[in-house]
Symmetry: C2
Subunit: 409 residues, 2 copies
């Protein structure tokens, strides 16, 4: 990549949007200004510890309590006490799964899927390798849809917990949580759902999803800050804490509550709900526009994963014969932020475990790019990206060591 | 307590400081304005995921990396890679202890003290009750000093980890971490130190404290935000993660890094170091002034714990024959925030486990109040508190059901 390459690439593309184009919202989102405003008083004047018996503590306690109500409302929970605040999606997932295993020490079987986020997948492997658990990883088909027959065959009477995501973070493919829940409940297992990517993009209602015992969300995936999340735990579900000690969160998560960030999560949830219509109309239309422009313009490229049901903001496209990292670097030079696979596994040269589980060939998986939009994206941005991407792919194919006519790997 | 009580109490006390007097800094501290300023850009423009391969990610990554350097410098760590960011003191303590136990699965013995913060004490009890560990809780003398002979007798070849705090959160009594470390290392155990209350108040230098393998700090105890902490792990120390999944924190703590709060912790550490001189001079003098005014003015009251070595900001005073909760309520009416025992155990009617371990009689322990100062307190505030406290104690004694002349409990 020389500076020449850069000038060629951008030639005649049209004006570069100011501040760049952020299409990596499944990795993390911009904190909504309204959310920053909501949390600020708790970073400045209302600094008390909610456990404290004085007005400084009471102010903090009110903020915490209101935030818990907001999160409960967002999830459709019956009671605010069903919401446990955590430090994020990974902790929520770990608490849900490990907390259940600790509550049922005699059940040594866990079921999850092969396409989970590392917070669940990595934990599953760790439970298998180091803690004496038997763990089944359910596969997906070529379109990224969960194999319900395999799930039905694997869930057993001694399965402590089944953890299956609501929507995949890399492809956006949405699983049938209700159908999964029926299978899980037929065997009496606890059902945990990682809804980190679904929250704010799909309707979430744990009253309707009555088989869901626990559900994880993360603040920074829905325009809240990093470092805050929640685990919904249906009343009556047994759970032991992961972080042990103080009385906080009804003994299910020790540590002084991160009041400002809890307030932020509450505000982000409320805001996400009010914008959810826009996700399924305007954001979804922008995503479709991006695909409709890129897919016909680039030879040897295809969308990974089923078109529907899919998260409205997510598009995963494979460009054969090139490296996703190269695409990302040139996109970044053009001011465009996207991702190859999940940010949590980037830095590794391994192809995405999700695409691998779908059977996407190596030659395609290596050149896969995830574009994930948000309510802050505009049509002008999408058109800019759609103009830049084919040029980048063409340029990389010109200089790739793998001539695609002769490629045999 | 009637409204009459209120007027009597404040009669002739002098002007009430605007905004109240916050003397509960061992529960949580006001976030320093400089810290809020430092974190704000990471809550607004620099919102990338540090794992992402684009400039949004790189900006976040730089903030995270600089913050880690600042925390490492504050602790005297040799390398920034020895710092693991966590969601707070409780998680740091849990990670240090549980992470060590997971790294040494064959060692089933743990040593800690009877006066630890709930994050360590509660975990120790849980390990004993539910996880098959043998746990020894080392006692303290009447002045709150650790029994080093008992420690020496209890640490064994199969002791996986010894966790002893650097300074007690309720009394402020400082332990001899160097002497403890020598005892621990003579048996080859891992030494974890909960320095949550010490950080910012005492010099911290893990190069000098060469027997310390791991050390916990918490942001919100040193004028940083809640929900962020760190665990120092000396290079070469084996540790397994508590939150399992992603690659973050070199595989020792999964989950997208809370960049804004990491930056805040770095800034708080830097600021704390620059203010530490003031802690040991001005703040300490204010604390002594408070004691010198209250102790002679109130009959049947005494300081709990050794006068020295003690955290410069902490005073724990017992007022016999009355309930601490009553004192706190009247203090709060006067705009003064203090604590009875630790905030993490408040809400319970049990007397403080720390005072109990020191052998403080029930009648004194129940009426104990912790005053914990910060660099934001002024002499005028201290004089106001010193004028109010004797009146409150007198009032409560007048109406107490326990006439102290006849008290037999």
């Amino acid at each position: 990549m020389t500076s020449n390459g850069r000038f060629d690439l951008m030639d005649g593309v049209g004006p570069r949007p100011e501040g760049g184009v952020y299409l990596d919202n499944n990795a993390t989102t911009q904190v909504a200004p309204e959310v920053v405003d909501a949390m600020m008083p708790y970073l400045t004047e209302f600094y008390g510890n909610p456990s404290s018996m004085h007005h400084f503590g009471a102010e903090a306690g009110r903020g915490l309590s209101d935030a818990r109500e907001q999160v409960a409302t967002f999830l459709g929970a019956k009671a605010a006490s069903e919401v446990i605040f955590t430090a994020g999606g990974s902790e929520s997932d770990n608490l849900g799964i490990v907390g259940t295993l600790r509550a049922y020490p005699d059940k040594k079987h866990v079921v999850t899927s092969a396409v989970e986020h590392p917070a669940v997948l990595g934990l599953g492997k760790d439970l298998e390798k180091r803690h004496g658990y038997e763990v089944d990883f359910i596969g997906v088909d070529a379109d990224g849809r969960l194999d319900l027959d395999e799930l039905r065959a694997k869930v057993r009477e001694d399965t402590a917990v089944v953890s299956i995501m609501m929507a995949n973070n890399e492809t956006g493919v949405v699983f049938d949580t209700a159908a999964i829940g029926e299978i899980v409940k037929a065997k009496g297992s606890v059902f945990h759902v990682d809804a980190v990517q679904a929250a704010g993009k799909l309707p979430l209602d744990v009253q309707q999803l009555e088989t869901v015992d626990m559900l994880s969300i993360s603040g920074h995936k829905l325009h809240g800050p990093k470092g805050i999340g929640a685990l919904y735990v249906r009343k009556g579900t047994r759970l032991r804490p992961l972080i042990v000690g103080g009385h906080q969160e009804r003994g299910r998560r020790a540590g002084t509550e991160n009041v400002a960030s809890c307030v932020a999560l509450g505000a982000a949830c409320k805001l996400a709900e009010s914008h959810r219509g826009e996700e399924t109309t305007r954001v979804s239309a922008l995503r479709d526009r991006l695909e409709e422009k890129i897919l016909p313009a680039v030879p040897d490229c295809r969308r990974n994963g089923a078109a529907e049901p899919r998260l409205p903001n997510t598009s995963n496209i494979s460009f054969d014969y090139i490296e996703g990292e190269g695409v990302l670097l040139l996109l970044d030079r053009a001011g465009i932020a996207a991702s190859s696979g999940s940010a949590c596994t980037s830095g590794s040269l391994e192809p995405s475990h999700v695409l691998k589980a779908m059977g996407v060939p190596f030659i395609s998986a290596h050149g896969s790019i995830r574009f994930s939009l948000s309510r802050y994206n505009t049509e002008a941005e999408i058109d800019y990206v759609a103009a830049v991407v084919p040029r980048i792919v063409q340029r990389l194919r010109e200089i790739t060591p793998f001539n695609r006519e002769k490629a045999t790997f």
